[in-house]
Amino acid sequence: MMIIASDPLLSSDIGFSVVAIMLLKVVIAFALLMVSVMLVIWFERKIVADMHNRVGPSLAGPWGILQTLADGIKLFFKEDLLPERADRVVFRLAPYLSLVPAFLSFAIVPIGGDFTNGGDGTVSIFGHRTLLQVADPPVGILLFLALSSIAVYGVMLAGWSSGSKYPLLGSVRASAQMISYEAALGLSMATVFLFSGTLSTSGIVSGQATWNWNLVSTGFIPFIIFVIAGTAELNRPPFDLVEAEQELVGGFHTEYSSIRFALFFLAEFMNMITMSAIAVTLFLGGPNGPILIKQIAWVWPILWFFLKVMAFLFTFVWLRATLPRLRYDQLMDLGWKLLIPASLGWFLLIAALNIGEDRGWSTFLIVPIGLIVLSLAALLLNGAIKKAKDSSLHAADLSEISEGVDQ
Protein backbone atom coordinates (compact mmCIF):
# COMPACT_ATOMS: atom_id res chain seq x y z
CA MET A 1 0.00 0.00 0.00
CA MET A 2 1.21 3.47 -0.75
CA ILE A 3 2.50 5.87 1.83
CA ILE A 4 0.92 9.30 1.69
CA ALA A 5 3.41 10.96 3.97
CA SER A 6 7.11 10.96 4.70
CA ASP A 7 6.11 11.08 8.35
CA PRO A 8 8.12 8.51 10.36
CA LEU A 9 4.92 7.76 12.26
CA LEU A 10 3.42 6.00 9.25
CA SER A 11 6.50 4.10 8.11
CA SER A 12 6.30 1.71 11.05
CA ASP A 13 3.49 -0.80 11.57
CA ILE A 14 0.19 0.99 11.79
CA GLY A 15 -1.29 -0.10 15.09
CA PHE A 16 -3.84 1.28 17.47
CA SER A 17 -1.50 3.89 18.99
CA VAL A 18 -0.55 5.28 15.57
CA VAL A 19 -4.21 5.70 14.62
CA ALA A 20 -4.85 7.32 18.00
CA ILE A 21 -2.00 9.80 17.47
CA MET A 22 -3.29 10.65 13.98
CA LEU A 23 -6.78 11.24 15.37
CA LEU A 24 -5.32 13.38 18.15
CA LYS A 25 -3.42 15.46 15.60
CA VAL A 26 -6.55 15.98 13.50
CA VAL A 27 -8.61 16.99 16.55
CA ILE A 28 -5.90 19.35 17.79
CA ALA A 29 -5.52 20.98 14.36
CA PHE A 30 -9.30 21.40 14.12
CA ALA A 31 -9.65 22.87 17.61
CA LEU A 32 -6.61 25.10 17.14
CA LEU A 33 -8.01 26.48 13.90
CA MET A 34 -11.47 27.11 15.37
CA VAL A 35 -10.09 28.90 18.43
CA SER A 36 -7.65 30.92 16.32
CA VAL A 37 -10.45 32.02 13.99
CA MET A 38 -12.43 33.19 17.00
CA LEU A 39 -9.47 35.15 18.31
CA VAL A 40 -8.44 36.50 14.89
CA ILE A 41 -11.88 37.98 14.25
CA TRP A 42 -11.70 39.69 17.64
CA PHE A 43 -8.08 40.74 16.94
CA GLU A 44 -9.03 42.28 13.59
CA ARG A 45 -12.01 44.18 15.02
CA LYS A 46 -9.96 45.45 17.94
CA ILE A 47 -6.96 46.56 15.85
CA VAL A 48 -9.13 48.23 13.19
CA ALA A 49 -11.03 49.97 15.99
CA ASP A 50 -7.77 51.24 17.46
CA MET A 51 -6.66 52.51 14.06
CA HIS A 52 -10.02 54.27 13.66
CA ASN A 53 -9.84 55.75 17.16
CA ARG A 54 -12.81 53.67 18.32
CA VAL A 55 -13.17 51.25 21.24
CA GLY A 56 -14.31 48.18 19.30
CA PRO A 57 -15.87 45.14 20.96
CA SER A 58 -15.58 45.58 24.72
CA LEU A 59 -18.58 44.08 26.50
CA ALA A 60 -18.43 40.29 26.05
CA GLY A 61 -15.69 38.99 28.32
CA PRO A 62 -12.45 40.79 29.23
CA TRP A 63 -11.56 43.29 26.42
CA GLY A 64 -14.48 41.89 24.45
CA ILE A 65 -12.55 38.73 23.69
CA LEU A 66 -15.71 36.58 23.66
CA GLN A 67 -17.48 38.82 21.12
CA THR A 68 -16.99 36.34 18.27
CA LEU A 69 -18.44 33.52 20.36
CA ALA A 70 -21.47 35.66 21.17
CA ASP A 71 -21.91 36.53 17.47
CA GLY A 72 -21.56 32.89 16.51
CA ILE A 73 -24.23 31.77 18.98
CA LYS A 74 -26.53 34.56 17.83
CA LEU A 75 -26.10 33.57 14.16
CA PHE A 76 -26.69 29.92 15.03
CA PHE A 77 -30.14 30.68 16.46
CA LYS A 78 -31.23 33.00 13.63
CA GLU A 79 -33.80 31.87 11.09
CA ASP A 80 -32.25 30.14 8.11
CA LEU A 81 -33.69 31.74 4.99
CA LEU A 82 -33.80 30.14 1.55
CA PRO A 83 -34.53 32.59 -1.29
CA GLU A 84 -37.47 31.62 -3.48
CA ARG A 85 -35.49 31.79 -6.71
CA ALA A 86 -32.48 29.98 -5.29
CA ASP A 87 -31.14 26.71 -6.64
CA ARG A 88 -31.83 24.71 -3.48
CA VAL A 89 -29.16 22.01 -3.64
CA VAL A 90 -26.31 24.25 -4.80
CA PHE A 91 -27.33 27.00 -2.38
CA ARG A 92 -26.96 24.58 0.53
CA LEU A 93 -23.76 23.05 -0.86
CA ALA A 94 -21.81 26.27 -1.50
CA PRO A 95 -20.85 27.21 2.12
CA TYR A 96 -19.29 23.78 2.62
CA LEU A 97 -17.31 24.11 -0.62
CA SER A 98 -15.76 27.21 0.95
CA LEU A 99 -15.25 25.79 4.40
CA VAL A 100 -13.85 22.31 3.73
CA PRO A 101 -10.86 23.42 1.59
CA ALA A 102 -10.11 26.09 4.19
CA PHE A 103 -9.91 23.39 6.87
CA LEU A 104 -7.98 20.89 4.78
CA SER A 105 -5.24 23.19 3.56
CA PHE A 106 -4.05 23.84 7.12
CA ALA A 107 -3.25 20.12 7.40
CA ILE A 108 0.01 20.46 5.45
CA VAL A 109 1.50 23.27 7.56
CA PRO A 110 4.25 22.23 9.99
CA ILE A 111 3.52 24.25 13.12
CA GLY A 112 6.49 23.12 15.20
CA GLY A 113 9.38 20.70 15.48
CA ASP A 114 13.10 21.38 15.57
CA PHE A 115 14.67 21.36 12.09
CA THR A 116 17.94 23.03 13.15
CA ASN A 117 21.27 21.24 13.71
CA GLY A 118 20.30 18.32 11.49
CA GLY A 119 17.00 17.73 13.28
CA ASP A 120 14.27 16.25 11.10
CA GLY A 121 11.49 18.24 12.72
CA THR A 122 9.94 15.31 14.51
CA VAL A 123 8.80 15.22 18.10
CA SER A 124 8.18 12.26 20.35
CA ILE A 125 4.59 11.49 21.36
CA PHE A 126 3.89 8.33 23.43
CA GLY A 127 7.06 6.70 22.16
CA HIS A 128 6.39 7.48 18.46
CA ARG A 129 8.36 10.01 16.41
CA THR A 130 6.10 12.22 14.33
CA LEU A 131 6.01 15.52 12.46
CA LEU A 132 3.95 18.36 13.93
CA GLN A 133 1.61 18.52 10.95
CA VAL A 134 -1.45 16.48 10.11
CA ALA A 135 -0.22 15.31 6.70
CA ASP A 136 3.03 15.62 4.79
CA PRO A 137 2.19 14.54 1.23
CA PRO A 138 5.03 14.53 -1.32
CA VAL A 139 3.13 17.10 -3.41
CA GLY A 140 2.63 19.31 -0.31
CA ILE A 141 2.25 22.83 -1.64
CA LEU A 142 0.44 21.65 -4.77
CA LEU A 143 -2.26 20.31 -2.46
CA PHE A 144 -2.63 23.83 -1.10
CA LEU A 145 -2.97 25.23 -4.65
CA ALA A 146 -5.52 22.54 -5.53
CA LEU A 147 -7.61 23.29 -2.45
CA SER A 148 -7.49 27.02 -3.01
CA SER A 149 -8.74 26.47 -6.55
CA ILE A 150 -11.60 24.38 -5.18
CA ALA A 151 -12.48 27.19 -2.77
CA VAL A 152 -13.33 29.34 -5.82
CA TYR A 153 -16.34 27.07 -6.37
CA GLY A 154 -17.78 28.00 -2.97
CA VAL A 155 -17.80 31.71 -3.78
CA MET A 156 -18.83 31.24 -7.40
CA LEU A 157 -21.76 28.90 -6.72
CA ALA A 158 -22.96 30.85 -3.69
CA GLY A 159 -23.43 33.89 -5.89
CA TRP A 160 -24.97 32.01 -8.78
CA SER A 161 -27.39 29.88 -6.75
CA SER A 162 -28.81 32.86 -4.86
CA GLY A 163 -30.84 33.78 -7.95
CA SER A 164 -30.24 37.49 -7.48
CA LYS A 165 -28.13 39.98 -9.39
CA TYR A 166 -25.82 41.44 -6.73
CA PRO A 167 -24.56 38.07 -5.50
CA LEU A 168 -24.07 37.02 -9.14
CA LEU A 169 -22.00 40.15 -9.88
CA GLY A 170 -19.97 39.51 -6.74
CA SER A 171 -19.29 35.92 -7.65
CA VAL A 172 -18.34 36.71 -11.24
CA ARG A 173 -15.87 39.28 -9.94
CA ALA A 174 -14.61 36.77 -7.39
CA SER A 175 -13.92 33.97 -9.80
CA ALA A 176 -12.18 36.24 -12.31
CA GLN A 177 -10.04 37.73 -9.56
CA MET A 178 -9.13 34.46 -7.88
CA ILE A 179 -8.24 32.72 -11.15
CA SER A 180 -6.09 35.69 -12.25
CA TYR A 181 -4.10 35.92 -9.04
CA GLU A 182 -3.69 32.17 -8.64
CA ALA A 183 -1.27 32.29 -11.58
CA ALA A 184 0.94 34.91 -9.91
CA LEU A 185 0.70 33.03 -6.61
CA GLY A 186 1.84 29.77 -8.21
CA LEU A 187 4.68 31.42 -10.15
CA SER A 188 6.05 33.13 -7.03
CA MET A 189 5.95 29.76 -5.23
CA ALA A 190 7.84 28.14 -8.12
CA THR A 191 10.91 30.24 -7.31
CA VAL A 192 10.91 28.72 -3.81
CA PHE A 193 10.82 25.21 -5.27
CA LEU A 194 14.01 26.00 -7.23
CA PHE A 195 15.81 26.38 -3.90
CA SER A 196 14.11 23.68 -1.87
CA GLY A 197 14.13 21.04 -4.62
CA THR A 198 11.00 19.54 -3.10
CA LEU A 199 7.29 20.27 -2.91
CA SER A 200 6.81 18.82 0.56
CA THR A 201 6.27 21.42 3.27
CA SER A 202 8.54 19.74 5.82
CA GLY A 203 11.23 19.53 3.15
CA ILE A 204 10.89 23.24 2.38
CA VAL A 205 11.16 24.11 6.08
CA SER A 206 14.18 21.90 6.70
CA GLY A 207 15.87 23.52 3.70
CA GLN A 208 15.76 26.85 5.59
CA ALA A 209 17.14 25.54 8.87
CA THR A 210 20.40 27.52 8.98
CA TRP A 211 18.88 31.02 8.84
CA ASN A 212 19.00 30.82 5.03
CA TRP A 213 15.37 31.80 4.74
CA ASN A 214 13.88 31.71 1.25
CA LEU A 215 12.89 35.34 1.75
CA VAL A 216 16.54 36.33 1.25
CA SER A 217 17.72 33.53 -1.04
CA THR A 218 14.93 34.11 -3.58
CA GLY A 219 15.64 37.84 -3.47
CA PHE A 220 12.52 39.37 -1.85
CA ILE A 221 10.60 39.83 -5.14
CA PRO A 222 8.73 36.47 -5.01
CA PHE A 223 7.83 37.16 -1.39
CA ILE A 224 6.33 40.56 -2.24
CA ILE A 225 4.41 39.06 -5.16
CA PHE A 226 3.22 36.21 -2.96
CA VAL A 227 1.87 38.58 -0.31
CA ILE A 228 0.06 40.79 -2.86
CA ALA A 229 -1.37 37.82 -4.77
CA GLY A 230 -2.25 36.11 -1.51
CA THR A 231 -4.19 39.15 -0.30
CA ALA A 232 -6.09 39.16 -3.58
CA GLU A 233 -6.70 35.41 -3.36
CA LEU A 234 -8.17 35.93 0.12
CA ASN A 235 -10.43 38.74 -1.20
CA ARG A 236 -9.10 40.91 1.60
CA PRO A 237 -8.92 44.71 1.32
CA PRO A 238 -7.65 46.42 -0.82
CA PHE A 239 -8.81 43.61 -3.15
CA ASP A 240 -12.27 43.05 -1.63
CA LEU A 241 -14.29 43.88 -4.75
CA VAL A 242 -16.00 40.55 -4.26
CA GLU A 243 -18.06 41.86 -1.38
CA ALA A 244 -17.74 45.59 -1.95
CA GLU A 245 -20.51 46.72 0.40
CA GLN A 246 -21.02 50.07 -1.27
CA GLU A 247 -21.65 48.52 -4.69
CA LEU A 248 -22.93 44.99 -4.19
CA VAL A 249 -24.83 45.07 -0.87
CA GLY A 250 -22.67 42.26 0.52
CA GLY A 251 -21.33 40.49 -2.54
CA PHE A 252 -21.68 36.77 -3.06
CA HIS A 253 -23.20 36.06 0.37
CA THR A 254 -25.91 38.74 0.30
CA GLU A 255 -28.71 36.16 0.35
CA TYR A 256 -27.15 34.02 3.04
CA SER A 257 -28.25 34.24 6.63
CA SER A 258 -27.86 32.43 9.90
CA ILE A 259 -25.36 29.59 10.20
CA ARG A 260 -24.65 29.42 6.45
CA PHE A 261 -23.44 33.02 6.53
CA ALA A 262 -21.34 32.16 9.59
CA LEU A 263 -19.72 29.32 7.62
CA PHE A 264 -18.58 31.75 4.90
CA PHE A 265 -17.23 34.08 7.54
CA LEU A 266 -15.40 31.20 9.21
CA ALA A 267 -13.89 30.08 5.90
CA GLU A 268 -12.71 33.60 5.10
CA PHE A 269 -10.78 34.00 8.34
CA MET A 270 -9.52 30.43 8.24
CA ASN A 271 -8.09 31.10 4.79
CA MET A 272 -6.39 34.21 6.15
CA ILE A 273 -4.68 32.14 8.86
CA THR A 274 -3.71 29.41 6.40
CA MET A 275 -2.33 31.89 3.87
CA SER A 276 -0.19 33.48 6.60
CA ALA A 277 0.99 30.04 7.71
CA ILE A 278 1.88 29.05 4.13
CA ALA A 279 3.77 32.31 3.62
CA VAL A 280 5.72 31.64 6.83
CA THR A 281 6.46 28.08 5.69
CA LEU A 282 7.59 29.09 2.22
CA PHE A 283 9.57 32.25 2.90
CA LEU A 284 10.23 32.77 6.61
CA GLY A 285 11.60 29.39 7.62
CA GLY A 286 8.42 28.05 9.21
CA PRO A 287 9.01 27.13 12.84
CA ASN A 288 12.79 27.62 12.55
CA GLY A 289 14.40 29.92 15.09
CA PRO A 290 16.89 29.96 17.94
CA ILE A 291 16.26 27.57 20.82
CA LEU A 292 16.94 29.61 23.91
CA ILE A 293 16.20 27.34 26.87
CA LYS A 294 17.18 23.73 26.21
CA GLN A 295 14.86 22.26 28.88
CA ILE A 296 11.73 23.22 26.95
CA ALA A 297 13.21 22.91 23.45
CA TRP A 298 9.93 21.78 21.85
CA VAL A 299 8.17 25.05 22.82
CA TRP A 300 10.46 27.39 20.88
CA PRO A 301 9.65 26.33 17.29
CA ILE A 302 5.93 26.59 18.05
CA LEU A 303 6.47 30.02 19.58
CA TRP A 304 8.49 31.28 16.57
CA PHE A 305 5.88 29.95 14.19
CA PHE A 306 3.12 31.67 16.18
CA LEU A 307 4.97 35.01 16.23
CA LYS A 308 5.67 34.91 12.49
CA VAL A 309 2.03 34.13 11.69
CA MET A 310 0.90 36.93 14.00
CA ALA A 311 3.10 39.39 12.09
CA PHE A 312 1.28 38.42 8.88
CA LEU A 313 -2.16 38.60 10.46
CA PHE A 314 -1.38 42.07 11.76
CA THR A 315 -0.22 43.12 8.29
CA PHE A 316 -3.47 41.93 6.73
CA VAL A 317 -5.49 43.92 9.26
CA TRP A 318 -3.21 46.91 8.83
CA LEU A 319 -3.74 46.84 5.03
CA ARG A 320 -7.50 46.77 5.57
CA ALA A 321 -7.40 49.86 7.78
CA THR A 322 -5.01 51.74 5.50
CA LEU A 323 -5.63 51.18 1.81
CA PRO A 324 -8.70 52.11 -0.25
CA ARG A 325 -10.23 49.50 -2.52
CA LEU A 326 -8.83 49.16 -6.04
CA ARG A 327 -10.95 49.79 -9.10
CA TYR A 328 -11.73 46.67 -11.10
CA ASP A 329 -9.55 47.56 -14.11
CA GLN A 330 -6.67 48.48 -11.78
CA LEU A 331 -7.03 45.07 -10.14
CA MET A 332 -6.81 43.25 -13.47
CA ASP A 333 -3.94 45.45 -14.70
CA LEU A 334 -1.96 44.79 -11.53
CA GLY A 335 -2.50 41.05 -11.76
CA TRP A 336 -1.95 40.39 -15.46
CA LYS A 337 0.38 43.17 -16.56
CA LEU A 338 2.61 43.51 -13.51
CA LEU A 339 2.58 40.55 -11.11
CA ILE A 340 2.53 37.67 -13.61
CA PRO A 341 5.28 39.05 -15.92
CA ALA A 342 7.38 40.10 -12.92
CA SER A 343 7.18 36.71 -11.20
CA LEU A 344 7.84 34.89 -14.46
CA GLY A 345 10.85 37.08 -15.24
CA TRP A 346 12.29 36.72 -11.76
CA PHE A 347 11.77 32.95 -11.91
CA LEU A 348 13.75 32.78 -15.17
CA LEU A 349 16.56 34.89 -13.72
CA ILE A 350 16.87 32.70 -10.61
CA ALA A 351 16.72 29.55 -12.75
CA ALA A 352 19.53 30.92 -14.96
CA LEU A 353 21.61 31.64 -11.86
CA ASN A 354 21.05 28.10 -10.55
CA ILE A 355 22.03 26.50 -13.85
CA GLY A 356 25.03 28.81 -14.08
CA GLU A 357 26.19 27.62 -10.67
CA ASP A 358 25.92 23.97 -11.78
CA ARG A 359 27.83 24.58 -15.01
CA GLY A 360 30.42 26.90 -13.46
CA TRP A 361 29.44 30.02 -15.41
CA SER A 362 30.48 33.38 -14.02
CA THR A 363 27.82 34.96 -11.81
CA PHE A 364 29.12 38.43 -12.72
CA LEU A 365 28.22 37.71 -16.33
CA ILE A 366 24.84 36.02 -15.77
CA VAL A 367 23.33 38.74 -13.58
CA PRO A 368 23.94 41.69 -15.98
CA ILE A 369 22.96 39.67 -19.05
CA GLY A 370 19.84 38.39 -17.32
CA LEU A 371 18.87 41.86 -16.13
CA ILE A 372 19.40 43.32 -19.61
CA VAL A 373 17.25 40.62 -21.23
CA LEU A 374 14.55 41.09 -18.60
CA SER A 375 14.47 44.87 -18.96
CA LEU A 376 14.27 44.50 -22.76
CA ALA A 377 11.30 42.17 -22.29
CA ALA A 378 9.72 44.62 -19.84
CA LEU A 379 10.18 47.48 -22.34
CA LEU A 380 8.62 45.38 -25.09
CA LEU A 381 5.66 44.47 -22.88
CA ASN A 382 5.22 48.07 -21.81
CA GLY A 383 5.30 49.23 -25.43
CA ALA A 384 2.72 46.63 -26.43
CA ILE A 385 0.42 47.65 -23.58
CA LYS A 386 0.76 51.33 -24.46
CA LYS A 387 0.11 50.64 -28.16
CA ALA A 388 -2.97 48.56 -27.31
CA LYS A 389 -4.32 51.29 -25.05
CA ASP A 390 -3.73 54.01 -27.69
CA SER A 391 -5.34 52.05 -30.49
CA SER A 392 -8.38 51.14 -28.40
CA LEU A 393 -8.81 54.82 -27.48
CA HIS A 394 -8.35 55.73 -31.16
CA ALA A 395 -10.93 53.12 -32.18
CA ALA A 396 -13.39 54.48 -29.62
CA ASP A 397 -12.93 58.02 -30.98
CA LEU A 398 -13.33 56.88 -34.57
CA SER A 399 -16.47 54.86 -33.87
CA GLU A 400 -17.96 57.94 -32.20
CA ILE A 401 -17.14 59.98 -35.31
CA SER A 402 -18.58 57.41 -37.73
CA GLU A 403 -21.74 57.12 -35.63
CA GLY A 404 -22.03 60.88 -35.91
CA VAL A 405 -21.74 60.59 -39.71
CA ASP A 406 -24.45 57.90 -39.86
CA GLN A 407 -26.85 60.19 -38.13
Binding site: D87, L145, S149, V405
Partner: protein, 196 residues
Protein backbone atom coordinates in the same frame (compact mmCIF):
# COMPACT_ATOMS: atom_id res chain seq x y z
CA UNK B 1 -7.89 -2.30 0.10
CA UNK B 2 -6.91 -1.13 -3.39
CA UNK B 3 -9.95 -2.86 -4.88
CA UNK B 4 -12.26 -1.13 -2.39
CA UNK B 5 -10.80 2.31 -3.20
CA UNK B 6 -11.01 1.54 -6.92
CA UNK B 7 -14.64 0.43 -6.70
CA UNK B 8 -15.68 3.51 -4.71
CA UNK B 9 -13.91 5.94 -7.05
CA UNK B 10 -15.25 4.10 -10.11
CA UNK B 11 -18.77 4.54 -8.73
CA UNK B 12 -18.05 8.24 -8.12
CA UNK B 13 -16.64 8.68 -11.65
CA UNK B 14 -19.49 6.86 -13.39
CA UNK B 15 -22.28 8.54 -11.42
CA UNK B 16 -20.63 11.89 -12.13
CA UNK B 17 -20.41 11.10 -15.84
CA UNK B 18 -24.07 10.10 -15.95
CA UNK B 19 -24.95 13.27 -14.04
CA UNK B 20 -23.17 15.41 -16.66
CA UNK B 21 -25.38 13.94 -19.38
CA UNK B 22 -28.69 13.75 -17.57
CA UNK B 23 -28.90 16.96 -15.55
CA UNK B 24 -30.98 19.62 -17.26
CA UNK B 25 -29.14 22.59 -15.81
CA UNK B 26 -25.69 23.32 -17.35
CA UNK B 27 -24.25 24.40 -13.99
CA UNK B 28 -25.26 21.08 -12.43
CA UNK B 29 -23.63 19.31 -15.37
CA UNK B 30 -20.40 21.22 -14.74
CA UNK B 31 -20.49 20.26 -11.05
CA UNK B 32 -20.99 16.58 -11.90
CA UNK B 33 -17.97 16.89 -14.17
CA UNK B 34 -15.93 18.13 -11.19
CA UNK B 35 -17.09 15.02 -9.33
CA UNK B 36 -15.80 12.82 -12.16
CA UNK B 37 -12.46 14.65 -12.22
CA UNK B 38 -12.09 14.14 -8.47
CA UNK B 39 -12.71 10.42 -8.88
CA UNK B 40 -9.98 10.26 -11.51
CA UNK B 41 -7.63 12.17 -9.18
CA UNK B 42 -8.25 9.54 -6.48
CA UNK B 43 -7.37 6.83 -9.00
CA UNK B 44 -4.10 8.64 -9.73
CA UNK B 45 -3.29 8.70 -6.00
CA UNK B 46 -4.05 4.98 -5.89
CA UNK B 47 -1.46 4.46 -8.66
CA UNK B 48 1.06 6.52 -6.61
CA UNK B 49 0.98 9.25 -9.28
CA UNK B 50 0.48 11.97 -6.68
CA UNK B 51 1.76 14.75 -8.92
CA UNK B 52 -0.75 13.90 -11.65
CA UNK B 53 -3.50 13.80 -9.03
CA UNK B 54 -2.66 17.32 -7.81
CA UNK B 55 -2.35 18.66 -11.36
CA UNK B 56 -5.65 17.00 -12.31
CA UNK B 57 -7.42 18.98 -9.59
CA UNK B 58 -5.51 22.25 -10.15
CA UNK B 59 -5.83 22.34 -13.93
CA UNK B 60 -9.11 20.59 -14.70
CA UNK B 61 -11.26 21.24 -11.65
CA UNK B 62 -9.59 24.50 -10.68
CA UNK B 63 -9.18 26.20 -14.02
CA UNK B 64 -11.07 24.60 -16.88
CA UNK B 65 -14.41 23.73 -15.28
CA UNK B 66 -14.31 27.01 -13.32
CA UNK B 67 -14.15 28.78 -16.68
CA UNK B 68 -17.10 26.70 -17.93
CA UNK B 69 -19.13 27.76 -14.89
CA UNK B 70 -17.91 31.33 -15.33
CA UNK B 71 -19.08 31.48 -18.93
CA UNK B 72 -22.39 29.74 -18.17
CA UNK B 73 -23.29 32.15 -15.37
CA UNK B 74 -21.96 35.22 -17.16
CA UNK B 75 -23.82 34.56 -20.40
CA UNK B 76 -27.01 33.66 -18.55
CA UNK B 77 -27.53 30.32 -20.30
CA UNK B 78 -28.00 28.66 -16.92
CA UNK B 79 -31.64 27.77 -17.56
CA UNK B 80 -32.93 24.30 -18.29
CA UNK B 81 -32.81 23.89 -22.05
CA UNK B 82 -35.88 23.33 -24.19
CA UNK B 83 -35.26 19.95 -25.77
CA UNK B 84 -38.32 19.88 -28.01
CA UNK B 85 -36.75 21.78 -30.88
CA UNK B 86 -34.07 20.06 -32.91
CA UNK B 87 -31.64 22.72 -34.21
CA UNK B 88 -30.59 20.66 -37.26
CA UNK B 89 -33.13 18.14 -38.51
CA UNK B 90 -31.97 14.53 -38.32
CA UNK B 91 -29.30 15.53 -35.81
CA UNK B 92 -30.43 13.22 -33.01
CA UNK B 93 -30.60 9.89 -34.84
CA UNK B 94 -27.24 10.74 -36.43
CA UNK B 95 -25.76 11.45 -33.00
CA UNK B 96 -26.97 8.08 -31.72
CA UNK B 97 -25.47 6.25 -34.72
CA UNK B 98 -22.17 8.15 -34.42
CA UNK B 99 -21.90 7.60 -30.66
CA UNK B 100 -22.66 3.90 -30.97
CA UNK B 101 -20.13 3.43 -33.76
CA UNK B 102 -17.34 5.25 -31.85
CA UNK B 103 -18.07 3.10 -28.80
CA UNK B 104 -17.97 0.01 -31.02
CA UNK B 105 -14.63 1.02 -32.58
CA UNK B 106 -13.01 1.63 -29.20
CA UNK B 107 -14.35 -1.64 -27.82
CA UNK B 108 -13.11 -3.57 -30.88
CA UNK B 109 -9.65 -2.00 -30.67
CA UNK B 110 -9.46 -2.82 -26.96
CA UNK B 111 -10.47 -6.45 -27.45
CA UNK B 112 -8.24 -6.97 -30.49
CA UNK B 113 -5.25 -5.26 -28.87
CA UNK B 114 -5.18 -6.86 -25.42
CA UNK B 115 -7.67 -9.68 -25.76
CA UNK B 116 -9.79 -8.54 -22.89
CA UNK B 117 -8.65 -6.77 -19.73
CA UNK B 118 -5.98 -8.74 -17.90
CA UNK B 119 -5.36 -6.45 -14.94
CA UNK B 120 -1.60 -6.75 -15.48
CA UNK B 121 0.63 -3.70 -15.40
CA UNK B 122 1.65 -2.84 -18.94
CA UNK B 123 3.61 0.37 -18.44
CA UNK B 124 7.32 -0.36 -18.29
CA UNK B 125 8.66 3.14 -17.63
CA UNK B 126 9.59 3.58 -13.99
CA UNK B 127 7.40 6.22 -12.39
CA UNK B 128 9.14 5.94 -9.04
CA UNK B 129 7.29 5.88 -5.77
CA UNK B 130 5.01 8.63 -4.53
CA UNK B 131 7.86 10.82 -3.31
CA UNK B 132 9.93 11.17 -6.49
CA UNK B 133 7.57 10.82 -9.44
CA UNK B 134 7.43 14.61 -9.77
CA UNK B 135 11.17 14.57 -10.45
CA UNK B 136 11.05 11.64 -12.89
CA UNK B 137 8.14 13.18 -14.78
CA UNK B 138 9.92 16.54 -15.00
CA UNK B 139 13.12 14.99 -16.27
CA UNK B 140 11.29 12.95 -18.89
CA UNK B 141 9.29 15.98 -20.10
CA UNK B 142 12.26 18.32 -20.36
CA UNK B 143 14.85 15.95 -21.78
CA UNK B 144 13.37 13.11 -23.87
CA UNK B 145 10.15 14.84 -24.81
CA UNK B 146 11.33 18.45 -24.80
CA UNK B 147 10.46 18.97 -28.46
CA UNK B 148 6.81 17.97 -28.03
CA UNK B 149 6.57 20.10 -24.87
CA UNK B 150 7.84 23.12 -26.77
CA UNK B 151 5.48 22.43 -29.67
CA UNK B 152 2.52 22.17 -27.31
CA UNK B 153 3.53 25.44 -25.67
CA UNK B 154 3.72 27.09 -29.10
CA UNK B 155 0.31 25.70 -30.04
CA UNK B 156 -1.23 27.08 -26.84
CA UNK B 157 0.37 30.49 -27.44
CA UNK B 158 -0.99 30.57 -30.98
CA UNK B 159 -4.43 29.64 -29.66
CA UNK B 160 -4.33 32.44 -27.06
CA UNK B 161 -3.18 35.02 -29.58
CA UNK B 162 -5.85 33.83 -32.01
CA UNK B 163 -8.55 34.15 -29.37
CA UNK B 164 -7.43 37.69 -28.52
CA UNK B 165 -7.35 38.69 -32.20
CA UNK B 166 -10.84 37.27 -32.80
CA UNK B 167 -12.29 38.98 -29.74
CA UNK B 168 -10.85 42.40 -30.61
CA UNK B 169 -11.76 42.34 -34.30
CA UNK B 170 -13.81 45.48 -34.93
CA UNK B 171 -17.45 44.87 -35.86
CA UNK B 172 -17.69 47.90 -38.14
CA UNK B 173 -14.99 48.81 -40.68
CA UNK B 174 -13.09 51.70 -39.13
CA UNK B 175 -12.12 54.80 -41.09
CA UNK B 176 -8.43 54.10 -40.52
CA UNK B 177 -8.74 50.73 -42.24
CA UNK B 178 -10.42 52.16 -45.35
CA UNK B 179 -8.23 53.29 -48.16
CA UNK B 180 -7.59 56.91 -48.89
CA UNK B 181 -10.07 57.04 -51.78
CA UNK B 182 -12.98 56.11 -49.56
CA UNK B 183 -11.74 58.47 -46.90
CA UNK B 184 -11.83 61.32 -49.40
CA UNK B 185 -15.35 60.32 -50.46
CA UNK B 186 -16.42 60.47 -46.82
CA UNK B 187 -14.93 63.93 -46.49
CA UNK B 188 -16.75 65.04 -49.64
CA UNK B 189 -20.02 63.72 -48.24
CA UNK B 190 -19.42 65.59 -45.02
CA UNK B 191 -18.73 68.80 -46.95
CA UNK B 192 -21.90 68.29 -49.01
CA UNK B 193 -23.89 67.80 -45.85
CA UNK B 194 -22.36 70.95 -44.46
CA UNK B 195 -23.32 72.87 -47.58
CA UNK B 196 -26.89 71.62 -47.45
Amino acid sequence: METVVFLISAAVILSGALGVIFSKNPVHSALFMVQTLFGVAVLFVLLEATFLAAIQVIVYAGAIVILFVFVITLLGVDRAEDLKVEPISGQRPLAVVLGASIFGIILTVLIVAVGGPTGEQVANTPIGDASDNTKILGEALFSTHVFSVELTALLLTVAVVGAVVLSTRPTKPLISTLDKQQNDNLEDELEEKGEE
